[in-house]
């Protein structure tokens, strides 16, 4: 059990949770993630480490409600059953900033993809980098943690599908018109966004790091649920990733593999909604 300081709604479909997890944050690095379980019988959910305070042993998480298990997570108060981590590898640039000195870096984030982007940009700023961010979502109300991000970037540009904030259109539109300004791109967001970013950067031969978020169970390399095709070979995102060289990722396969448990998950969600509904009727 871990103490939950707060678990609050920050947009129409996203929540921010602050947890006491000293052993997780003692050595964690931007790019790594944790697996959480609301209760002892809950599903294991991988979530990115979005912010941390090593001295106080605090860990910040952001999650979007997309199914029964994330819905259940919103009910967590005071205590959460399990927070396992840090898992996966640190972002390559953060791991060795000196190797990237002088490089012009652009982060492209989509939706909750801003959660893994934020700690990286913050870390790089602390290490003397001026990093640009392009951040997109469907509409203005779904843009998260803007205040925090704006404090650590050199320049941030927004894109929304409906034009309610920033440029109307996609993050790739903004990246396309500024592509000459960058030596390295890091893209984190929906698979389709990362795929589109890589299609663009490939044309200009700009190295691009992406962060894969496949289905996971254990997060320790034991089940293979998280396998992605990298350079024609299967790799486990939880131990070999989650970040990979975007040019080598088979995005089409990743897109298809995300739907493996769609029906089962839908069923569980319906069941859970019914249960919640049932509970309310009793009150």
């Amino acid at each position: 059990m871990y103490k939950v300081v707060y678990n609050k709604k920050i947009s129409s479909n996203s929540y921010e949770m602050l947890v006491e997890a000293p052993l997780v944050v003692e050595k964690c690095m931007p790019g790594q993630f944790v697996i959480v379980m609301a209760k002892e019988d809950s599903e294991r959910i991988p979530l990115t480490i979005y912010d941390y305070d090593r001295e106080k042993g605090l860990l910040w998480l952001i999650y979007q409600v997309i199914g029964a298990s994330t819905e259940e997570l919103t009910t967590v108060q005071q205590k959460i059953f399990s927070v396992s981590g840090p898992l996966g590898n640190a972002n390559e640039i953060c791991k060795d900033p000196d190797a990237y000195k002088g490089k012009r870096i652009c982060y492209v984030a989509g939706g909750v993809g801003i959660a893994p982007v934020y700690p990286q940009v913050k870390y790089l700023q602390e290490h003397g980098f001026n990093v640009d961010v392009i951040y997109g979502s469907r509409s203005a109300d779904l843009l998260l943690i803007r205040d925090k991000v704006e404090k650590v970037v050199s320049k941030i540009r927004y894109a929304t599908d409906d034009g309610s904030f920033g440029t109307k259109g996609f993050v790739t539109d903004i990246l396309a018109s500024n592509i000459e300004d960058y030596d390295i791109v890091v893209a984190i967001g929906p698979v389709i966004m990362m795929k589109n970013v890589v299609e663009l950067t490939k044309k200009y031969n700009i190295p691009t790091i992406v962060s894969m978020n496949p289905l996971m169970v254990d997060g320790s390399g034991m089940c293979g649920a998280c396998r992605c095709e990298i350079d024609g070979k299967p790799k486990f995102a939880c131990i070999h990733g989650p970040e990979f060289d975007g040019f080598k990722v088979n995005f089409d396969l990743a897109l298809k593999r995300m739907s493996i448990y769609k029906e089962e998950e839908q069923e569980k969600w319906e069941l859970m909604k019914k249960r919640l509904q049932g509970g309310k009727n009793h009150e």
Binding site: L23, V24, E26, K27, C28, Q32, M37, E40, D41, S42, E43, R44, A68, S69, E72, F81, S82, V83, S84, G85, P86, L87, G88, V217, D218, G219, S220, G221, M222, C223, G224, A225, R227, E229, P234, I239, L253, K256, R257, S259, I260, Y261, E264, E265, E267, K268
Partner: protein, 452 residues
């Protein structure tokens, strides 16, 4: 004279395929006594030579005969820490029972069932109340909570050491918890083992990935000794086309969803795929566990194995139970491609027949593909149970010596790193519970020697 062994009572096959409860009921007192009386009490017991940990088998059986179960339990406990587990999962037909004199002309003594009987009685009657020795003021870190880690922790704690186990999953037990299904090894038995360690004062820290949260170097600094019992959990795949299809899973994934995450229960929150027809590729215990679990979920479940039935490496009892449960065995066959639709869903497999050749150096007969036998089978799920290899996440940033095969190199149980010991599957590659248990015992002994 009728001298056949006392058969263990089982749940009926057609009933047990509808539940996850234990298949075997285990001997009752009379049955155990009757089976024990069959033992000849050989002066030169061959059975013991077949036991990897040399349990004094005739002596514990004598205890049963004499109605002194406490003594029987003490005899087993001298050599084994996990008898309730090993009695259930050891491949006895290849070990102790294969050597029993009685087996030459008739049926060997059911040593495994007797071991289980004694261990279960010990749990019921709480024989296990060991009082730990006075604290010696030394700290040991154990990485991994499988049979190797649990055993090492237990022996050290009993001797007065301060022991902390680090486990990356949210529950302790290793393969005993996430891999071997309830119907073969009830989780309550594993939990009892874990609880008894806690009673001895062992601290179990779950959720901690060693290598990331703390490195081995950190552990070396914070503890007087470190034991690595991280197992061999990394699943293998075949490398054939179509293996990335949506319904191709490792056996570990299927078993983890079912066991660790309780996916077989209606109200479980972790989803589990239930196809119409599933092929489990492989012939070991892992394959049997996966195929029988799927059967219990209502799937038409097949084994596909590239050698013959005689070569199946699984425990004999499990194969027999699987056959009775209606598992279809497609032997001497191997998939060469997994067929999918445009959404990446499995629709079948291309399969070749295999031809059995001569026995190789390891005594196993080789196989070759029959090139003219290519055919397809329909299915909507494929499970790979091809074996596992060590997963060395714990060794991140360390320069511990590894063999060509990626196994941790040890002398006794000592690794190339100062005050770091290792044992179990991480050292041997995927093996057995009893060997992992033995390695844990041996490491505890060597750790105590090195610290005294």
């Amino acid at each position: 004279m009728n001298d056949s062994k006392v058969k263990g009572r089982l749940q009926d096959a057609d009933v047990r395929v509808t539940n996850f409860e234990e298949v075997e009921f285990g001997y009752n007192d009379e049955e155990a006594l009757q089976e024990a009386s069959r033992c000849l009490q050989c002066v030169n017991p061959r059975c013991m030579k077949g036991c990897p940990v040399n349990i004094m088998i005739p002596e514990f059986i004598k205890g049963i005969k004499e109605g002194d179960l406490k003594k029987a339990y003490e005899v087993i406990s001298r050599s084994s820490s996990l008898p309730a587990v090993c009695g259930r999962v050891c491949p006895q037909e290849k070990q102790c029972e294969s050597m029993c004199v009685k087996g030459i002309k008739g049926e060997a003594i059911s040593i495994g069932s007797l071991e289980r009987y004694v261990a279960d009685q010990a749990i019921i009657n709480q024989f296990n109340s060991v009082v730990p020795a006075e604290k010696v003021g030394k700290k040991v870190a154990i990485v991994g909570s499988g049979p190797a880690g649990l055993t090492c922790a237990g022996d050290l704690a009993k001797a007065g050491y301060d022991v902390t186990i680090y486990e990356v999953l949210h529950k302790a037990g290793g393969v005993l918890t996430y891999g071997i299904p309830e119907f073969r090894l009830p989780k309550s038995i594993v939990q009892k083992e874990v609880d008894s360690l806690k009673k001895l004062g062992v601290e179990i820290k779950c959720d901690v990935p060693i290598g990331n949260a703390l490195t081995i170097a950190d552990l070396q600094q914070q503890y007087d000794a470190v034991f690595l019992g991280t197992g061999a959990g990394l699943p293998k795949f075949m490398g054939i086309p179509g293996e990335d299809a949506n319904q191709v899973f490792s056996a570990n994934e299927v078993l983890t969803r079912i066991n660790l995450m309780g996916g077989y229960q209606e109200e479980a929150k972790t989803p589990i795929k239930k196809g119409k027809t599933a092929y489990v590729i492989g012939g070991g215990n892992v394959a049997m566990d996966a195929v029988r679990s799927l059967k219990r979920l209502g799937v038409d479940a097949h084994i596909m194995y590239r050698r013959s039935l005689e070569e199946l490496p699984a425990r004999k009892m499990e194969v027999e139970h699987a056959v009775d449960e209606g598992i279809v065995f497609d032997i001497l066959k191997n998939p060469v491609e997994i067929l999918t639709d445009d959404k990446n869903n499995v629709v079948g497999m291309k399969v070749v027949n295999m031809i059995l050749g001569e026995a190789g150096e390891d005594g196993r007969r080789g196989v070759t593909e029959d090139p003219d036998s290519l055919h397809t089978v329909d299915c909507d799920m494929v499970i790979m149970a091809l074996g596992t290899s060590p997963n060395h996440g714990a060794l991140k940033d360390s320069d511990i010596a590894l063999s060509d095969k990626g196994l941790i190199v040890v002398e006794g149980t000592k690794t190339s790193l100062d005050s770091v010991f290792a044992g179990g599957d991480a050292v041997t590659g995927a093996a057995t519970v009893i060997l992992a248990m033995e390695a844990g015992k041996k490491a505890a002994k060597e750790i105590m020697e090195s610290l005294s």
